[in-house]
Symmetry: C2
Subunit: 77 residues, 2 copies
């Protein structure tokens, strides 16, 4: 089964990449854009068919590799 | 209001970054991981409060800047 994960910067952590996108959008006449924060998305195919087990495994992967918990949060969709 | 967007590579487009993550996970004793595909996530704050308008604007942003439609798909959450 597939498990989807979003990793985002914690609130308060500077996001220069998001800022650059926001400024570019503003310059492209999208003046209504107030803030952009960029994150990462992972689509993980695991061989387990048990949803609960799969989510537990993916949570472990997030903690160990996919997210830097000092500055990032993860969310399993 | 906030609009969330996920940009992913189209099926069939090679994803070496995802492959590297998969191999690393396999090497970390997560042998159940069959495939990883990485994408981008955007959290966009727009000044519009009308949801439909906001989504239409964000869709335009995806087409013009956030996604490369030749190799990527976008999904507005």
């Amino acid at each position: 089964m597939k498990v989807k994960v979003i990793v985002t910067l914690k609130n308060g952590v500077l996001d220069p990449q998001g800022k650059a996108i926001q400024q570019t959008l503003n310059g492209m006449s999208f003046s209504e854009v107030k803030e952009v924060r960029q994150g990462k998305y992972f689509d993980i195919e695991v061989s387990t068919t048990d949803e609960k087990k799969a989510r537990t495994k993916v949570e472990e992967m997030c903690k160990k590799l996919l997210a830097n918990l000092v500055i990032e949060d993860y969310k399993i969709l």
